[in-house]
Protein backbone atom coordinates (compact mmCIF):
# COMPACT_ATOMS: atom_id res chain seq x y z
CA UNK A 1 0.00 0.00 0.00
CA UNK A 2 1.39 3.34 -0.83
CA UNK A 3 0.67 4.88 2.53
CA UNK A 4 2.89 2.37 4.25
CA UNK A 5 5.97 3.69 2.58
CA UNK A 6 5.40 7.14 3.96
CA UNK A 7 4.83 6.22 7.56
CA UNK A 8 6.87 4.39 10.14
CA UNK A 9 5.50 0.91 10.19
CA UNK A 10 4.98 -1.72 12.80
CA UNK A 11 7.77 -4.26 13.27
CA UNK A 12 7.78 -7.03 10.70
CA UNK A 13 5.89 -9.98 12.07
CA UNK A 14 2.85 -8.06 13.16
CA UNK A 15 1.58 -7.26 16.61
CA UNK A 16 -1.61 -8.18 18.35
CA UNK A 17 -3.58 -6.33 20.99
CA UNK A 18 -3.18 -7.67 24.51
CA UNK A 19 -5.56 -10.36 25.69
CA UNK A 20 -6.82 -9.93 29.21
CA UNK A 21 -7.70 -12.79 31.46
CA UNK A 22 -10.46 -12.16 33.90
CA UNK A 23 -10.13 -15.38 35.87
CA UNK A 24 -11.00 -14.52 39.41
CA UNK A 25 -11.79 -10.93 38.52
CA UNK A 26 -15.30 -11.18 37.21
CA UNK A 27 -16.25 -8.05 39.09
CA UNK A 28 -14.09 -6.03 36.75
CA UNK A 29 -15.90 -7.35 33.72
CA UNK A 30 -19.34 -6.19 34.77
CA UNK A 31 -21.46 -4.48 32.21
CA UNK A 32 -22.51 -0.94 33.12
CA UNK A 33 -26.23 -0.31 33.53
CA UNK A 34 -27.99 2.72 32.23
CA UNK A 35 -28.83 4.92 35.17
CA UNK A 36 -30.41 7.74 33.23
CA UNK A 37 -34.09 8.01 32.46
CA UNK A 38 -35.12 6.85 28.97
CA UNK A 39 -35.47 10.40 27.70
CA UNK A 40 -32.44 11.87 29.38
CA UNK A 41 -29.38 12.81 27.34
CA UNK A 42 -25.84 12.58 28.63
CA UNK A 43 -24.12 15.85 29.40
CA UNK A 44 -22.51 17.43 26.34
CA UNK A 45 -19.57 19.79 26.27
CA UNK A 46 -19.30 21.96 23.16
CA UNK A 47 -16.89 24.76 22.43
CA UNK A 48 -16.08 26.75 19.30
CA UNK A 49 -12.94 28.52 18.20
CA UNK A 50 -10.40 25.91 19.23
CA UNK A 51 -8.30 26.18 16.06
CA UNK A 52 -7.59 29.84 15.35
CA UNK A 53 -5.85 29.22 12.02
CA UNK A 54 -8.97 27.69 10.48
CA UNK A 55 -12.01 29.67 9.35
CA UNK A 56 -14.12 27.97 11.98
CA UNK A 57 -13.72 25.15 14.46
CA UNK A 58 -15.49 23.39 17.28
CA UNK A 59 -14.89 20.66 19.83
CA UNK A 60 -17.61 18.32 21.10
CA UNK A 61 -17.29 15.95 24.01
CA UNK A 62 -19.49 13.58 25.94
CA UNK A 63 -17.44 12.98 29.06
CA UNK A 64 -17.05 9.40 30.22
CA UNK A 65 -19.63 8.34 32.74
CA UNK A 66 -18.25 7.91 36.22
CA UNK A 67 -18.27 4.12 36.41
CA UNK A 68 -14.83 3.36 34.96
CA UNK A 69 -12.15 4.59 37.26
CA UNK A 70 -13.59 3.19 40.43
CA UNK A 71 -13.08 -0.44 39.62
CA UNK A 72 -9.35 -0.22 39.04
CA UNK A 73 -9.55 -2.06 35.80
CA UNK A 74 -7.30 -1.40 32.85
CA UNK A 75 -10.00 -2.37 30.43
CA UNK A 76 -12.40 0.53 30.06
CA UNK A 77 -16.00 -0.48 30.47
CA UNK A 78 -17.53 2.13 28.24
CA UNK A 79 -16.40 4.76 25.84
CA UNK A 80 -16.96 8.45 25.59
CA UNK A 81 -17.14 10.65 22.52
CA UNK A 82 -14.62 13.33 21.57
CA UNK A 83 -14.90 14.98 18.19
CA UNK A 84 -13.15 18.00 16.79
CA UNK A 85 -14.13 19.78 13.58
CA UNK A 86 -12.42 22.43 11.50
CA UNK A 87 -13.98 24.30 8.61
CA UNK A 88 -11.82 25.84 5.92
CA UNK A 89 -13.74 28.05 3.63
CA UNK A 90 -15.12 29.56 1.61
CA UNK A 91 -12.00 29.23 -0.46
CA UNK A 92 -11.46 29.49 -4.19
CA UNK A 93 -11.73 26.26 -6.14
CA UNK A 94 -8.60 24.82 -7.73
CA UNK A 95 -7.78 25.90 -11.24
CA UNK A 96 -8.89 22.78 -13.02
CA UNK A 97 -12.33 22.67 -11.39
CA UNK A 98 -15.30 23.60 -13.55
CA UNK A 99 -17.55 26.50 -12.72
CA UNK A 100 -19.96 25.82 -9.92
CA UNK A 101 -22.75 28.27 -9.06
CA UNK A 102 -23.02 26.91 -5.52
CA UNK A 103 -20.63 26.38 -2.66
CA UNK A 104 -18.90 23.02 -3.13
CA UNK A 105 -18.99 21.19 0.16
CA UNK A 106 -16.52 18.40 0.89
CA UNK A 107 -16.55 16.50 4.14
CA UNK A 108 -13.86 14.29 5.63
CA UNK A 109 -14.30 12.16 8.70
CA UNK A 110 -11.34 10.40 10.23
CA UNK A 111 -10.99 8.30 13.32
CA UNK A 112 -7.74 8.71 15.18
CA UNK A 113 -5.76 5.47 15.58
CA UNK A 114 -6.36 5.50 19.33
CA UNK A 115 -10.06 6.24 19.02
CA UNK A 116 -11.49 2.79 19.47
CA UNK A 117 -10.74 -0.41 21.31
CA UNK A 118 -9.09 -1.89 18.21
CA UNK A 119 -6.37 0.28 16.80
CA UNK A 120 -7.36 1.83 13.50
CA UNK A 121 -5.04 2.53 10.63
CA UNK A 122 -4.21 5.87 9.09
CA UNK A 123 -5.81 5.17 5.76
CA UNK A 124 -9.50 6.00 5.54
CA UNK A 125 -11.65 2.93 5.37
CA UNK A 126 -15.17 2.40 4.15
CA UNK A 127 -16.96 3.20 7.39
CA UNK A 128 -15.29 6.59 7.59
CA UNK A 129 -16.21 7.38 4.02
CA UNK A 130 -19.76 6.34 4.79
CA UNK A 131 -19.92 8.69 7.76
CA UNK A 132 -18.59 11.43 5.51
CA UNK A 133 -21.40 10.89 3.04
CA UNK A 134 -24.05 10.95 5.77
CA UNK A 135 -22.60 14.15 7.16
CA UNK A 136 -22.53 15.68 3.70
CA UNK A 137 -26.22 14.89 3.25
CA UNK A 138 -27.03 16.46 6.58
CA UNK A 139 -25.12 19.68 5.93
CA UNK A 140 -26.11 20.11 2.33
CA UNK A 141 -29.69 20.81 3.28
CA UNK A 142 -28.71 23.59 5.59
CA UNK A 143 -26.04 25.62 3.84
CA UNK A 144 -27.15 28.44 1.56
CA UNK A 145 -24.92 27.52 -1.32
CA UNK A 146 -25.88 30.07 -3.90
CA UNK A 147 -24.27 32.90 -1.99
CA UNK A 148 -20.83 31.46 -2.69
CA UNK A 149 -20.31 30.61 -6.36
CA UNK A 150 -16.95 29.30 -7.53
CA UNK A 151 -15.99 28.48 -3.96
CA UNK A 152 -15.38 25.39 -1.95
CA UNK A 153 -15.66 24.60 1.70
CA UNK A 154 -13.89 21.80 3.55
CA UNK A 155 -15.36 20.34 6.70
CA UNK A 156 -12.80 18.15 8.41
CA UNK A 157 -13.76 16.01 11.37
CA UNK A 158 -11.34 14.10 13.55
CA UNK A 159 -12.84 11.66 16.02
CA UNK A 160 -10.45 11.43 18.95
CA UNK A 161 -12.54 8.90 20.76
CA UNK A 162 -15.55 7.07 19.40
CA UNK A 163 -18.43 5.11 20.81
CA UNK A 164 -18.55 1.39 20.46
CA UNK A 165 -21.05 -0.82 18.76
CA UNK A 166 -21.68 -3.34 21.48
CA UNK A 167 -20.39 -4.22 24.88
CA UNK A 168 -16.90 -5.60 24.44
CA UNK A 169 -17.58 -8.54 26.67
CA UNK A 170 -20.08 -9.94 24.23
CA UNK A 171 -17.58 -10.38 21.44
CA UNK A 172 -19.96 -11.38 18.71
CA UNK A 173 -17.37 -12.72 16.36
CA UNK A 174 -16.53 -10.45 13.49
CA UNK A 175 -19.18 -7.82 13.79
CA UNK A 176 -17.88 -5.02 11.63
CA UNK A 177 -18.34 -1.44 12.64
CA UNK A 178 -21.42 0.32 11.36
CA UNK A 179 -23.67 -0.48 14.23
CA UNK A 180 -25.20 1.75 16.77
CA UNK A 181 -21.95 3.30 17.97
CA UNK A 182 -21.41 4.83 14.56
CA UNK A 183 -24.78 6.53 14.85
CA UNK A 184 -23.87 8.29 18.07
CA UNK A 185 -20.66 9.39 16.41
CA UNK A 186 -22.63 10.69 13.43
CA UNK A 187 -24.99 12.64 15.67
CA UNK A 188 -21.98 14.22 17.39
CA UNK A 189 -20.38 14.99 14.04
CA UNK A 190 -23.49 16.77 12.78
CA UNK A 191 -23.71 18.93 15.87
CA UNK A 192 -20.04 19.82 15.90
CA UNK A 193 -19.98 20.55 12.17
CA UNK A 194 -22.92 22.88 12.65
CA UNK A 195 -21.11 24.76 15.40
CA UNK A 196 -17.96 25.04 13.29
CA UNK A 197 -19.91 26.30 10.28
CA UNK A 198 -21.44 29.05 12.38
CA UNK A 199 -17.99 29.89 13.74
CA UNK A 200 -16.71 30.16 10.16
CA UNK A 201 -19.52 32.52 9.24
CA UNK A 202 -20.98 30.41 6.44
CA UNK A 203 -24.60 31.24 5.78
CA UNK A 204 -26.99 28.60 6.97
CA UNK A 205 -30.74 28.33 6.95
CA UNK A 206 -30.91 27.16 10.54
CA UNK A 207 -28.88 25.35 13.15
CA UNK A 208 -28.84 21.65 12.41
CA UNK A 209 -28.37 19.26 15.30
CA UNK A 210 -28.07 15.49 15.46
CA UNK A 211 -30.01 13.15 17.72
CA UNK A 212 -30.05 9.39 18.24
CA UNK A 213 -32.77 7.17 19.55
CA UNK A 214 -32.88 3.41 19.86
CA UNK A 215 -35.17 0.56 20.70
CA UNK A 216 -33.43 -1.47 23.36
CA UNK A 217 -34.23 -4.82 24.74
CA UNK A 218 -33.65 -5.43 28.38
CA UNK A 219 -31.82 -8.74 28.74
CA UNK A 220 -33.73 -10.14 31.64
CA UNK A 221 -37.25 -8.91 31.35
CA UNK A 222 -37.33 -8.96 27.53
CA UNK A 223 -39.08 -5.60 27.67
CA UNK A 224 -38.57 -3.27 24.78
CA UNK A 225 -38.17 0.39 25.35
CA UNK A 226 -37.28 3.40 23.26
CA UNK A 227 -34.45 5.41 24.77
CA UNK A 228 -32.72 8.59 23.70
CA UNK A 229 -28.95 8.81 23.41
CA UNK A 230 -28.26 5.10 23.71
CA UNK A 231 -24.95 3.82 24.89
CA UNK A 232 -24.45 0.41 23.29
CA UNK A 233 -22.28 -0.72 26.16
CA UNK A 234 -25.23 -0.36 28.48
CA UNK A 235 -28.08 -1.91 26.55
CA UNK A 236 -28.65 -4.35 23.75
CA UNK A 237 -29.82 -2.33 20.81
CA UNK A 238 -32.49 -3.80 18.57
CA UNK A 239 -32.92 -0.84 16.23
CA UNK A 240 -31.55 2.69 16.16
CA UNK A 241 -32.12 5.87 14.24
CA UNK A 242 -30.15 9.09 13.88
CA UNK A 243 -31.62 12.29 12.43
CA UNK A 244 -30.32 15.73 11.58
CA UNK A 245 -33.07 18.14 12.48
CA UNK A 246 -33.78 21.82 11.84
CA UNK A 247 -35.95 23.00 14.65
CA UNK A 248 -37.28 26.31 13.49
CA UNK A 249 -38.35 24.87 10.17
CA UNK A 250 -39.32 21.48 11.49
CA UNK A 251 -37.33 19.72 8.77
CA UNK A 252 -35.17 16.65 8.76
CA UNK A 253 -32.14 16.83 6.48
CA UNK A 254 -30.72 13.38 7.14
CA UNK A 255 -32.07 10.16 8.58
CA UNK A 256 -30.30 6.86 9.05
CA UNK A 257 -32.05 3.90 10.56
CA UNK A 258 -30.74 0.46 11.30
CA UNK A 259 -32.36 -2.64 12.66
CA UNK A 260 -35.79 -4.16 12.74
CA UNK A 261 -38.37 -1.72 14.06
CA UNK A 262 -41.53 -3.31 12.83
CA UNK A 263 -44.44 -0.92 12.62
CA UNK A 264 -42.96 1.67 14.94
CA UNK A 265 -40.78 3.54 12.42
CA UNK A 266 -42.41 6.91 12.82
CA UNK A 267 -42.37 6.70 16.59
CA UNK A 268 -38.65 5.99 16.53
CA UNK A 269 -38.01 8.95 14.25
CA UNK A 270 -40.04 11.16 16.56
CA UNK A 271 -37.90 10.10 19.48
CA UNK A 272 -34.75 10.83 17.55
CA UNK A 273 -36.12 14.29 16.75
CA UNK A 274 -36.68 14.83 20.46
CA UNK A 275 -33.06 13.95 21.11
CA UNK A 276 -32.00 16.38 18.39
CA UNK A 277 -33.98 19.16 20.05
CA UNK A 278 -32.07 18.52 23.28
CA UNK A 279 -28.73 18.74 21.52
CA UNK A 280 -29.84 21.94 19.85
CA UNK A 281 -30.18 23.72 23.18
CA UNK A 282 -26.57 22.90 23.98
CA UNK A 283 -25.53 24.01 20.49
CA UNK A 284 -27.33 27.33 20.70
CA UNK A 285 -25.89 28.00 24.15
CA UNK A 286 -22.33 27.36 23.00
CA UNK A 287 -22.67 29.53 19.91
CA UNK A 288 -24.18 32.37 21.88
CA UNK A 289 -21.27 32.27 24.32
CA UNK A 290 -18.78 32.36 21.48
CA UNK A 291 -20.45 35.31 19.80
CA UNK A 292 -20.61 37.23 23.06
CA UNK A 293 -16.93 36.61 23.52
CA UNK A 294 -16.12 37.86 20.05
CA UNK A 295 -18.16 41.03 20.36
CA UNK A 296 -17.15 41.66 23.94
CA UNK A 297 -13.68 42.20 25.27
CA UNK A 298 -11.28 41.12 22.50
CA UNK A 299 -8.22 40.94 24.78
CA UNK A 300 -9.71 38.11 26.78
CA UNK A 301 -7.31 35.18 26.31
CA UNK A 302 -8.83 31.90 25.33
CA UNK A 303 -8.31 28.83 27.44
CA UNK A 304 -4.74 27.66 27.17
CA UNK A 305 -3.38 30.72 25.40
CA UNK A 306 -0.54 32.36 27.25
CA UNK A 307 -0.92 35.87 28.52
CA UNK A 308 2.04 37.21 26.65
CA UNK A 309 1.89 35.00 23.61
CA UNK A 310 -0.88 36.60 21.67
CA UNK A 311 -0.89 40.13 22.96
CA UNK A 312 -1.22 43.08 20.70
CA UNK A 313 2.09 44.08 19.23
CA UNK A 314 2.97 47.71 19.28
CA UNK A 315 2.53 49.69 16.10
CA UNK A 316 5.69 50.46 14.23
CA UNK A 317 6.66 52.90 11.55
CA UNK A 318 7.20 51.20 8.26
CA UNK A 319 9.78 53.21 6.44
CA UNK A 320 12.29 52.60 3.75
Amino acid sequence: MQADRRRLNAPAGGTAPPVFSFAGDEALAKRPIRTRKPDEHRKIFLRTGVVPSASGSAYYEIPPQGTQSEEGSLVPTSSSLKVTCTVHGPRPLPRNASFSPNLLLSTHVKFAPFATRQRRGYVRDASERDLGVHLDTALRGVIIGERWPKSGCEVVITVLEGEEDAWWGDRRGDEKSGGCGMMSVLAGCITVASAALVDAGIDCVDLVSGGVAAVVRDGQSKLEQTVLDPSPAENDVKAACVVAYLQSRDEVTEMWMKGDVGAETEALVDHAVKAAVMTRTVLAEAIKEAVELKLGDPVEPANGAPKGGKGKGKDVDMTG
Binding site: R7, A12, P18, F20, D25, L74, V156, K310, T319
Partner: protein, 315 residues
Protein backbone atom coordinates in the same frame (compact mmCIF):
# COMPACT_ATOMS: atom_id res chain seq x y z
CA UNK B 1 4.49 55.73 6.46
CA UNK B 2 3.77 58.85 8.40
CA UNK B 3 6.59 61.04 9.38
CA UNK B 4 5.48 64.13 11.21
CA UNK B 5 8.39 66.35 10.22
CA UNK B 6 7.82 66.06 6.48
CA UNK B 7 4.98 67.84 4.82
CA UNK B 8 4.17 64.93 2.51
CA UNK B 9 1.11 63.01 3.70
CA UNK B 10 2.22 59.44 4.39
CA UNK B 11 0.09 56.38 3.83
CA UNK B 12 -0.99 54.55 6.89
CA UNK B 13 -2.55 51.10 6.86
CA UNK B 14 -3.61 48.74 9.54
CA UNK B 15 -1.17 46.17 10.88
CA UNK B 16 -2.90 43.29 9.15
CA UNK B 17 -2.60 44.95 5.77
CA UNK B 18 1.13 45.39 6.15
CA UNK B 19 1.51 41.90 7.42
CA UNK B 20 -0.20 40.54 4.33
CA UNK B 21 1.41 42.79 1.75
CA UNK B 22 5.00 42.93 2.93
CA UNK B 23 5.58 40.35 5.61
CA UNK B 24 9.35 40.52 5.65
CA UNK B 25 9.71 44.30 6.07
CA UNK B 26 6.87 44.16 8.60
CA UNK B 27 8.78 41.70 10.75
CA UNK B 28 12.03 43.54 10.22
CA UNK B 29 10.55 46.83 11.35
CA UNK B 30 9.45 45.18 14.57
CA UNK B 31 12.76 43.56 15.27
CA UNK B 32 15.15 46.36 14.51
CA UNK B 33 13.83 48.59 17.28
CA UNK B 34 15.77 48.93 20.50
CA UNK B 35 13.44 46.84 22.62
CA UNK B 36 12.51 44.56 19.83
CA UNK B 37 9.11 43.01 20.10
CA UNK B 38 7.70 40.51 17.66
CA UNK B 39 4.31 41.08 16.00
CA UNK B 40 2.72 38.61 18.38
CA UNK B 41 3.87 40.57 21.41
CA UNK B 42 6.73 38.34 22.55
CA UNK B 43 10.37 39.25 22.82
CA UNK B 44 12.72 37.37 20.49
CA UNK B 45 13.86 35.11 23.30
CA UNK B 46 10.51 34.35 24.79
CA UNK B 47 8.87 30.97 24.40
CA UNK B 48 5.15 30.37 24.50
CA UNK B 49 3.63 28.87 27.61
CA UNK B 50 2.94 25.18 27.28
CA UNK B 51 -0.04 23.56 28.94
CA UNK B 52 -0.24 19.79 29.22
CA UNK B 53 -3.26 17.65 29.98
CA UNK B 54 -2.57 13.95 30.27
CA UNK B 55 -4.59 10.79 30.70
CA UNK B 56 -7.75 11.93 28.98
CA UNK B 57 -8.13 9.17 26.38
CA UNK B 58 -9.73 5.93 27.55
CA UNK B 59 -8.46 3.51 24.94
CA UNK B 60 -4.78 4.31 25.18
CA UNK B 61 -2.16 3.14 27.58
CA UNK B 62 -1.02 6.72 27.86
CA UNK B 63 -2.12 9.99 26.35
CA UNK B 64 -1.47 13.69 26.48
CA UNK B 65 -2.85 16.86 24.95
CA UNK B 66 -0.33 19.68 24.71
CA UNK B 67 -1.18 23.24 23.83
CA UNK B 68 1.58 25.75 23.07
CA UNK B 69 -0.02 29.04 22.13
CA UNK B 70 -2.28 28.17 19.24
CA UNK B 71 -0.54 24.93 18.35
CA UNK B 72 -2.30 21.91 19.85
CA UNK B 73 -1.20 18.29 19.57
CA UNK B 74 -2.78 15.08 20.87
CA UNK B 75 -0.62 12.02 21.46
CA UNK B 76 -1.83 8.52 22.26
CA UNK B 77 0.42 5.61 23.16
CA UNK B 78 -0.95 2.14 22.51
CA UNK B 79 0.86 -1.02 23.48
CA UNK B 80 0.54 -4.23 21.53
CA UNK B 81 2.31 -7.53 21.80
CA UNK B 82 4.91 -8.80 19.38
CA UNK B 83 5.73 -12.46 19.80
CA UNK B 84 9.42 -13.24 19.70
CA UNK B 85 8.69 -16.17 17.44
CA UNK B 86 7.18 -13.83 14.87
CA UNK B 87 10.28 -11.70 14.44
CA UNK B 88 11.83 -12.69 11.10
CA UNK B 89 15.43 -11.92 12.02
CA UNK B 90 15.69 -12.37 15.73
CA UNK B 91 18.33 -10.27 17.41
CA UNK B 92 21.06 -12.36 18.92
CA UNK B 93 21.32 -12.85 22.64
CA UNK B 94 24.38 -10.70 22.82
CA UNK B 95 22.74 -7.60 21.42
CA UNK B 96 23.29 -4.43 23.39
CA UNK B 97 20.27 -3.23 25.27
CA UNK B 98 20.58 0.14 23.65
CA UNK B 99 20.24 -1.26 20.19
CA UNK B 100 17.45 -3.70 20.88
CA UNK B 101 14.60 -1.23 20.59
CA UNK B 102 15.86 0.13 17.34
CA UNK B 103 16.71 -3.25 15.89
CA UNK B 104 13.36 -4.85 16.53
CA UNK B 105 11.44 -1.62 15.95
CA UNK B 106 9.53 -1.49 19.20
CA UNK B 107 8.75 2.22 19.14
CA UNK B 108 6.58 3.32 16.22
CA UNK B 109 5.92 7.07 16.26
CA UNK B 110 3.83 8.67 13.57
CA UNK B 111 2.93 12.31 13.25
CA UNK B 112 -0.26 12.99 11.36
CA UNK B 113 -0.67 16.51 10.09
CA UNK B 114 -3.37 16.10 7.44
CA UNK B 115 -6.12 16.69 9.95
CA UNK B 116 -7.19 20.10 8.81
CA UNK B 117 -5.02 21.76 11.46
CA UNK B 118 -4.20 24.59 9.13
CA UNK B 119 -5.35 25.51 5.61
CA UNK B 120 -2.16 24.03 4.21
CA UNK B 121 -2.79 20.60 5.71
CA UNK B 122 -6.06 19.33 4.43
CA UNK B 123 -6.97 15.66 4.56
CA UNK B 124 -7.11 13.37 1.61
CA UNK B 125 -3.41 13.32 0.90
CA UNK B 126 -0.80 10.91 2.19
CA UNK B 127 1.70 12.52 4.55
CA UNK B 128 3.81 15.14 2.85
CA UNK B 129 7.48 15.80 3.35
CA UNK B 130 7.01 17.85 6.49
CA UNK B 131 5.01 15.17 8.29
CA UNK B 132 7.35 12.40 7.18
CA UNK B 133 10.48 14.24 8.21
CA UNK B 134 9.04 15.19 11.58
CA UNK B 135 7.99 11.58 12.24
CA UNK B 136 11.47 10.44 11.40
CA UNK B 137 13.09 13.08 13.58
CA UNK B 138 10.96 12.05 16.53
CA UNK B 139 11.83 8.43 15.94
CA UNK B 140 15.56 9.05 15.75
CA UNK B 141 15.46 11.28 18.82
CA UNK B 142 13.65 8.58 20.79
CA UNK B 143 16.29 6.01 19.91
CA UNK B 144 19.14 8.41 20.45
CA UNK B 145 18.03 9.47 23.90
CA UNK B 146 17.49 5.90 25.17
CA UNK B 147 14.48 7.17 26.96
CA UNK B 148 12.72 3.84 27.26
CA UNK B 149 14.31 1.03 29.15
CA UNK B 150 14.22 -2.20 27.09
CA UNK B 151 13.56 -4.23 30.22
CA UNK B 152 10.17 -2.58 30.49
CA UNK B 153 9.29 -3.86 27.06
CA UNK B 154 10.35 -7.46 27.48
CA UNK B 155 7.93 -10.17 28.48
CA UNK B 156 9.97 -12.95 29.94
CA UNK B 157 9.27 -16.48 30.90
CA UNK B 158 11.20 -18.60 33.28
CA UNK B 159 11.39 -22.04 31.84
CA UNK B 160 10.89 -24.84 34.33
CA UNK B 161 13.85 -27.05 34.95
CA UNK B 162 14.04 -30.21 32.89
CA UNK B 163 16.19 -33.23 33.44
CA UNK B 164 18.64 -32.18 30.77
CA UNK B 165 19.71 -29.07 32.59
CA UNK B 166 22.82 -29.16 34.66
CA UNK B 167 21.96 -29.18 38.34
CA UNK B 168 23.80 -25.98 39.21
CA UNK B 169 22.46 -23.91 36.35
CA UNK B 170 19.81 -21.39 37.35
CA UNK B 171 16.39 -21.31 35.66
CA UNK B 172 16.58 -19.96 32.13
CA UNK B 173 14.84 -16.72 31.36
CA UNK B 174 13.59 -16.54 27.82
CA UNK B 175 12.09 -13.48 26.22
CA UNK B 176 8.86 -14.72 24.76
CA UNK B 177 7.41 -11.46 23.54
CA UNK B 178 7.91 -7.74 23.44
CA UNK B 179 5.63 -4.79 24.00
CA UNK B 180 5.47 -2.57 20.92
CA UNK B 181 4.47 1.01 21.56
CA UNK B 182 2.51 2.76 18.84
CA UNK B 183 2.88 6.48 19.38
CA UNK B 184 0.21 8.26 17.36
CA UNK B 185 0.57 12.01 17.33
CA UNK B 186 -2.20 14.07 15.80
CA UNK B 187 -1.87 17.74 15.14
CA UNK B 188 -5.16 19.42 15.99
CA UNK B 189 -4.15 23.03 15.48
CA UNK B 190 -1.00 24.41 13.94
CA UNK B 191 0.50 27.81 14.49
CA UNK B 192 4.15 27.16 13.84
CA UNK B 193 6.67 24.94 15.62
CA UNK B 194 5.04 21.56 15.33
CA UNK B 195 8.14 19.66 16.41
CA UNK B 196 8.51 21.05 19.92
CA UNK B 197 4.88 20.51 20.74
CA UNK B 198 4.82 17.01 19.23
CA UNK B 199 7.92 16.07 21.20
CA UNK B 200 6.46 17.46 24.43
CA UNK B 201 3.28 15.48 23.79
CA UNK B 202 5.27 12.28 23.26
CA UNK B 203 7.18 12.69 26.50
CA UNK B 204 4.07 13.60 28.45
CA UNK B 205 2.24 10.58 27.04
CA UNK B 206 5.16 8.34 28.00
CA UNK B 207 5.04 9.64 31.53
CA UNK B 208 1.39 8.73 31.61
CA UNK B 209 1.80 5.26 30.05
CA UNK B 210 1.13 2.14 32.04
CA UNK B 211 1.73 -1.35 30.73
CA UNK B 212 -0.38 -4.20 32.09
CA UNK B 213 1.31 -7.06 33.83
CA UNK B 214 1.90 -9.73 31.22
CA UNK B 215 3.10 -13.30 31.36
CA UNK B 216 3.52 -16.22 29.03
CA UNK B 217 0.93 -18.91 29.50
CA UNK B 218 2.56 -22.20 28.45
CA UNK B 219 -0.74 -24.08 28.23
CA UNK B 220 -2.45 -21.68 25.89
CA UNK B 221 0.84 -20.79 24.20
CA UNK B 222 0.11 -17.08 24.29
CA UNK B 223 0.74 -13.99 26.30
CA UNK B 224 -1.95 -13.14 28.81
CA UNK B 225 -2.35 -9.87 30.66
CA UNK B 226 -3.93 -8.95 33.93
CA UNK B 227 -6.69 -6.34 33.77
CA UNK B 228 -6.06 -5.01 37.26
CA UNK B 229 -4.62 -1.55 37.15
CA UNK B 230 -2.97 -2.11 40.53
CA UNK B 231 -0.67 -4.65 38.91
CA UNK B 232 0.24 -2.51 35.94
CA UNK B 233 3.65 -0.93 35.69
CA UNK B 234 4.21 2.57 34.51
CA UNK B 235 6.90 3.11 31.96
CA UNK B 236 10.18 4.17 33.46
CA UNK B 237 11.87 6.99 31.62
CA UNK B 238 15.62 7.36 31.72
CA UNK B 239 15.58 11.07 31.12
CA UNK B 240 13.24 13.90 30.24
CA UNK B 241 14.40 15.64 27.13
CA UNK B 242 12.85 18.90 26.01
CA UNK B 243 13.15 20.36 22.54
CA UNK B 244 13.42 24.03 21.67
CA UNK B 245 13.25 25.36 18.16
CA UNK B 246 14.55 28.69 16.98
CA UNK B 247 13.93 30.36 13.67
CA UNK B 248 16.44 32.69 12.12
CA UNK B 249 15.08 35.59 10.16
CA UNK B 250 17.68 37.35 8.08
CA UNK B 251 17.58 40.36 5.85
CA UNK B 252 20.47 41.74 3.85
CA UNK B 253 21.87 43.63 6.80
CA UNK B 254 20.87 41.80 9.97
CA UNK B 255 19.70 38.52 11.23
CA UNK B 256 17.60 37.78 14.26
CA UNK B 257 17.14 34.60 16.20
CA UNK B 258 13.52 34.07 17.25
CA UNK B 259 12.60 31.49 19.84
CA UNK B 260 9.54 29.33 19.22
CA UNK B 261 8.45 30.83 15.90
CA UNK B 262 4.78 30.91 15.04
CA UNK B 263 3.36 30.29 11.59
CA UNK B 264 3.95 33.81 10.32
CA UNK B 265 7.57 33.83 11.44
CA UNK B 266 8.20 30.29 10.28
CA UNK B 267 7.32 31.25 6.74
CA UNK B 268 9.86 34.04 6.80
CA UNK B 269 12.67 32.24 8.57
CA UNK B 270 14.97 30.36 6.27
CA UNK B 271 17.07 28.72 8.90
CA UNK B 272 16.01 26.78 11.94
CA UNK B 273 17.92 25.41 14.89
CA UNK B 274 16.51 22.74 17.17
CA UNK B 275 18.20 22.03 20.48
CA UNK B 276 17.23 19.09 22.65
CA UNK B 277 18.33 19.21 26.26
CA UNK B 278 17.81 16.33 28.63
CA UNK B 279 17.95 16.02 32.35
CA UNK B 280 18.44 12.68 33.99
CA UNK B 281 18.56 11.68 37.62
CA UNK B 282 22.35 11.79 38.00
CA UNK B 283 23.28 14.78 35.96
CA UNK B 284 21.66 18.12 35.99
CA UNK B 285 21.25 18.58 32.31
CA UNK B 286 22.98 17.38 29.23
CA UNK B 287 22.81 18.35 25.63
CA UNK B 288 21.27 15.64 23.55
CA UNK B 289 21.14 16.99 20.04
CA UNK B 290 21.54 20.13 18.04
CA UNK B 291 20.11 20.21 14.60
CA UNK B 292 20.28 23.12 12.27
CA UNK B 293 19.61 23.67 8.65
CA UNK B 294 18.65 26.14 6.03
CA UNK B 295 21.32 28.76 6.12
CA UNK B 296 24.74 29.87 7.20
CA UNK B 297 23.89 32.53 9.73
CA UNK B 298 24.11 30.58 12.94
CA UNK B 299 27.71 29.99 13.81
CA UNK B 300 29.29 28.76 17.00
CA UNK B 301 28.43 31.85 18.99
CA UNK B 302 24.78 31.96 18.10
CA UNK B 303 24.44 28.23 18.56
CA UNK B 304 25.86 28.51 22.05
CA UNK B 305 23.37 31.26 22.81
CA UNK B 306 20.52 29.05 21.64
CA UNK B 307 21.69 26.20 23.82
CA UNK B 308 21.75 28.43 26.87
CA UNK B 309 18.23 29.61 26.15
CA UNK B 310 17.08 26.04 25.75
CA UNK B 311 18.58 25.08 29.08
CA UNK B 312 16.90 28.01 30.76
CA UNK B 313 13.59 26.98 29.31
CA UNK B 314 14.09 23.42 30.37
CA UNK B 315 14.56 24.43 33.96
Amino acid sequence: MANGANASPGLSFSRETFAKLTPAPFLHAHLKQNNSVRPNGRSPEEFRQTSINSGSLTHSNGSAVVRCGDTAVVCGVRAEILLASDIPHSPGDDIEDDDLIEEVGLLVPNLEMSTGCSPAHLPGNPPGTLAQSLSYRISSLLHLSNIVNPDDLRIQYTEPKTDEDLPDEGPKQVTKAYWTLYIDILCIALDGNAFDTAWAATIAAFQNTTLPKAWWDPDREMVVCSPRSAEANSLRLNCLPAASTFGVFSTISDSFVLADPDAFEEDLADETVTVVVASSKNRRSSLLSVQKGGGAVVGKYLAAKCILLAEDRRS
